[in-house]
């Protein structure tokens, strides 16, 4: 290959195949290489809820989308420029998303009659002209893969399983990725099984060499590194970032970290990640159910731990009772809800933002809880830390609303200096704080800090602080059981005022409005940040003046939000629900916020946001 690669600003690739074809692994590896190469990137894994859905069917298609670019990007891209389809189902499930002129690379070996029928094709799309709008490359990936590993003695049936490495090799060639890291990774990852290691390596090389020698591909592309600030970076998923944020703040604050959790998609990876970090003293407890998971965290919080419970929507339903107890006990606790499609079991692997109102209001009684939502995978790290700060400082449960898109998506993350993370002072109670009727020193568990209204965190083991607390209403200050109506009203207001007072720690919002002349404001929260920001940029590229403001804090809302909302003539709120934030903003600020809704188990596309901006501007 003598021709030098053509420069490209960005590309969106989508790997699609059977859920057993290793598409996630292939996509992740390509992503890692691109990250190390210096591109900016964002990923969107998309897989079925079934572990092994029937092979070859549309329901069993697992896909991984990644956008890589030479400039700062905020989403995994709207539509793939290149679709790598390992079988007819992978093609059929994704071809509808492609725009004219897109490239399709298919494993032509997989397009036999049976596979076509399973995917629901009556005619072979490679032969019937239905793909004429696209550049289609038919590559015999299976047979070239088996041929490559034949000589090392791998049985053809086993050899076939390496075909995802062939695809990876081909794409690496096509986009001029350096391959040394991948081959080193293959050596390490499959060190325990030499035959598999060799088969994968040979398949990868075969794919790379096919690009080089076959002349099927006329051009090869190159995407230059993006201008990142100097420093060290890691490619990180939201779930990993969240787990690391918790470990980091616990470690820096010298608080033992406790996680009570019950396995649930898409939150389980946080449990998996934290259970690896025993060296940091992290206690993980896989409870018998979601209720016990939350309850055990309350016990750990009472014991003086930084206590966390992680879940997804159905689990949040079950934890509501325990969260209410934590509100009454006024103990620090973090509840992470990695949102997925609902109601009920819903769409377990797909993204949605439909738990906002549940987090804000989903408990009986007046039960206020601070609610935060991370914006990007990397932001999950910072959000976890902030949740811990609020929980400990104000002695309150805090809900973090992540989502399936953030949980599994990745982005380059600037590795922080651990020493830059300020420790939290738990300010444990150490002695009596009041005097009883006889003039003796005593301890009142509900005597509050005058500014934060936080009560003392008095952990067992300290003589003189023995006290009883519970879910029954307590007398102001002393914490004794109290059924008096007037006291209940005082306590209800105190709990509400305490949580409302968290606003003191929330920085004012900064509106992104480069023109300064926008009349339309787009307001977002949580994981829609990246895709919506991409849409806003697209509109600005058409010279439309549009402002964007993003909320991390859903309760309490930032102090200057009302002023911001009222200073634009139109406010739209794109949400992956039927308008939950819009409903909160309308009732709180009496501003006519318009909802841009999507509930398809997928993130917004920039084009959808651009279209909404066009409609409302």
């Amino acid at each position: 290959m003598t021709q030098s690669p053509s420069p490209l600003s960005s590309v969106v690739l989508r790997f699609a195949g059977d859920s057993g074809d290793g598409m996630q692994l292939t996509g992740e590896r390509f992503t890692t290489e691109s990250a190390v190469f210096g591109n900016d990137l964002a990923t969107l894994p998309d897989f079925p809820a079934e572990i092994r859905a029937p092979a070859g069917t549309l329901g069993g298609v697992s896909a991984f989308q990644v956008q890589i670019s030479d400039h700062d990007i905020t989403s995994a891209g709207d539509t793939p420029d290149v679709l790598i389809a390992m079988n007819p189902a992978g093609l059929r499930a994704n071809v509808g998303q492609l725009e004219r002129g897109a490239t399709i690379i298919v494993n032509v070996d997989a397009f036999d009659e049976r596979a076509l029928a399973k995917a629901g094709y009556l005619e072979n799309p490679l032969a019937d002209g239905s793909l004429s709008a696209f550049s289609v490359f038919e590559v015999p990936m299976t047979s070239l893969t088996t041929a490559a590993s034949e000589e090392v003695g791998v049985k053809p049936r086993d050899a076939e399983r390496s075909k995802n490495f062939f695809a990876l090799g081909l794409v690496c060639w096509l986009y001029s990725r350096p391959i040394e890291n991948i081959t080193a990774w293959i050596d390490k990852r499959f060190a325990k099984n030499d035959l598999v290691r060799q088969a994968n390596y040979r398949a990868f090389r075969a794919g790379y060499d096919f690009g080089e020698t076959s002349e099927a591909f006329a051009v090869r592309y190159e995407i230059a590194p993006a201008p990142f600030a100097p420093g060290e970076y890691a490619n990180i998923t939201g779930n990993t970032a969240l787990a690391w944020g918790l470990v980091a703040i616990a470690q820096r604050s010298n608080l033992p970290l406790f996680l009570g959790s019950y396995p649930i998609t898409p939150a389980s990876d946080i449990l998996h990640e934290l259970s690896k970090h025993k060296r940091f003293g992290v206690r993980t407890f896989q409870a018998e159910d979601e209720i016990a998971a939350a309850a055990s965290a309350i016990g750990a919080a009472y014991a003086g731990s930084l206590a966390v419970t992680t879940t997804s929507g159905p689990g949040l339903d079950l934890k509501s009772e325990a969260i209410g107890l934590a509100v009454a006990l006024e103990l620090p606790m973090i509840i992470v809800d990695v949102q997925r499609g609902g109601p009920s079991t819903g769409l377990p692997t797909k993204v949605e933002q439909t738990d906002l109102l549940h987090a804000l209001y989903g408990r009986h009684g007046e039960s206020p809880v601070p609610v935060l939502a991370p914006a990007t995978p990397g932001d999950c790290f910072d959000t976890a830390i902030e949740a811990a700060r609020i929980a400990v400082k104000y002695r309150t449960p805090v809900i973090v609303l992540s989502d399936a898109y953030l949980a599994n998506g990745t982005e380059p993350w600037p590795i922080p200096d651990p020493l830059s993370i300020d420790p939290i002072d738990p300010d444990f109670a150490s002695g009596p704080n009041a005097t009883d009727a006889e003039g003796n020193p005593t301890f009142w568990p509900y005597l509050r800090h005058p500014e934060t209204l936080a009560r003392p965190w008095a952990v067992p083991g300290v003589a003189g602080l023995e006290h009883r607390i519970g879910g029954l209403e307590k007398a102001d200050k002393t914490g004794a059981v109290a059924y008096d109506g007037k006291n209940h009203e005082v306590m209800t207001h105190l709990r509400a005022d305490k949580v409302a007072g968290v606003v003191a720690d929330i920085p004012d919002l900064v509106v992104d409005d480069p023109s300064g002349a926008a009349r339309l404001l787009v307001v977002t929260w949580g994981g829609t940040y990246g895709p919506v920001a991409a849409g806003v940029r697209r509109a600005r590229a058409r010279s439309v003046n549009v402002a964007h403001v993003h909320l991390r804090h859903l309760n309490p809302l930032p102090a200057n939000l009302g002023e911001i909302l009222s200073s634009y003539s139109t406010v739209i709120s794109p949400e992956l629900n039927l308008g939950q934030l819009a409903s909160v903003l309308r009732s709180r600020y009496l501003v006519d916020v318009k909802t841009v809704s999507k509930v398809q188990g997928a993130p917004f596309r920039a084009a959808e946001i651009d279209a909404a901006i066009e409609e409302y501007r």
């Binding site: 100097p230 890691a234 970090h277 025993k278 016990a292 309850a295 016990g299 922080p416 083991g461 006290h467």
Partner: protein
């Protein structure tokens, strides 16, 4: 904790809160037994935590001058688990009732027992829902007429000791509110047990289920109706120890008058038997409150305690690989450097 244990009296263990159970409630005698026992247990008040769920029994922690948490219905074993594994230095006691532990909290109870978490569970069994004013409970006898079952309850009751043994609890015992010395001795042994200990306490609800246990616990009937289990001894009962417990070929047990012919085959109680089947058979001996009923320690075996295991994995990992390093963690999955 390393603090030397202070000498205390019963008064030191009583909180300043007015006790508000119905006059005549069996809970008073349990509270007195526990408050009188505490000074003998070689523990400081600040290292003791009582955790309860919901129900009449669940008010218990408010009356103990220790740390205490009155939580939510059925969840006390789960909350106590998080507390006990986080703080192995504490003594954690769960106070529960038949509805709290066996109905709404049944799942948490069996899993805490299965894991062998270091908690002492006192299950006050009055065979009725008291705080909600008199509905049948999961331990009420079939046919029980209550406000919610005017035609009689349809359900077969749980035997708490059988449930605990089914979960392979390592310490299972039964006592009753009419015998302070027996209560104290049983709770003392449960307290000393490492791991999860369950003590069922027959407790009279004089308002909604008065006399539920009178046939077996009253002073006049006790000798013939309570079978006090003692480890390593043949199981005999009756004023003259004239009755014994015998085993059928299928492993189930029955009571009979002792004769010179059968005396040699009286079951010898073995609370430390690794297999819980023998203890389970004893727990099935009685099918009503009007038959001879075993009390005392059914099972007392050693098995690694959950918190020890959990914290042991942390210590092992730290000794093997060193303490965690955040900078290394952040680079653990691979990283790259962008130069200026």
């Amino acid at each position: 904790m390393s603090t030397p244990v202070q000498l205390t009296t019963r008064k030191d263990w009583a909180s300043d809160q007015e006790v508000r159970w119905c006059p005549g409630c069996g809970d008073y005698s349990i509270l007195a037994a526990v408050q009188m026992l505490m000074p003998e247990l070689n523990v400081n008040r600040e290292d003791t935590v009582f955790v309860s769920g919901i129900g009449c029994a669940a008010r218990f922690p408010y009356y103990m001058n220790t740390y205490g948490v009155h939580t939510i219905h059925g969840r006390a074993p789960a909350i106590a688990t998080g507390l006990a594994v986080s703080r192995p230095d504490l003594h954690v006691v769960v106070i529960s009732g038949d509805g709290d532990a066996l109905s709404i909290g049944g799942n948490h109870l069996i899993h805490a027992l299965r894991r062998n978490v270091n908690i002492t569970i006192l299950l006050f069994n009055n065979r009725i829902y008291g705080l909600t004013k008199g509905q049948y409970s999961p331990t009420s006898e079939r046919g029980k007429v209550t406000k919610s079952t005017p035609a009689g309850s349809l359900e077969a009751p749980f035997d708490p000791v059988s449930v605990a043994l089914g979960a392979e609890a390592t310490f299972v015992a039964r006592t009753h509110d009419m015998d302070r010395a027996h209560m104290q001795e049983t709770i003392r042994r449960a307290w000393a047990h490492e791991g999860a200990a369950l003590v069922e306490i027959y407790q009279n609800c004089n308002v909604f289920n008065d006399g539920a246990f009178t046939d077996i616990t009253s002073r006049t009937s006790r000798d013939d109706m309570l079978i006090d289990l003692h480890h390593g001894e043949p199981i005999r009962f009756g004023a003259q120890k004239q009755f014994g417990v015998f085993r059928h070929l299928d492993g189930s047990v029955y009571t009979d008058t002792i004769t010179s012919d059968n005396e040699a085959s009286i079951v010898v109680h073995d609370e430390s038997a690794p297999d819980p089947s023998g203890a389970f058979a004893l727990s099935r001996l009685t099918r009503s409150d009007h038959e001879p009923t075993p009390v005392g320690v059914f099972r007392n075996v050693q098995r690694p305690e959950y918190g020890d295991l959990l914290n042991g994995q942390i210590i092992d990992s730290q000794e093997r690989d060193g303490l965690g390093d955040l900078a290394a963690l952040f680079r653990g999955n691979g990283s790259w450097t962008v130069s200026a």
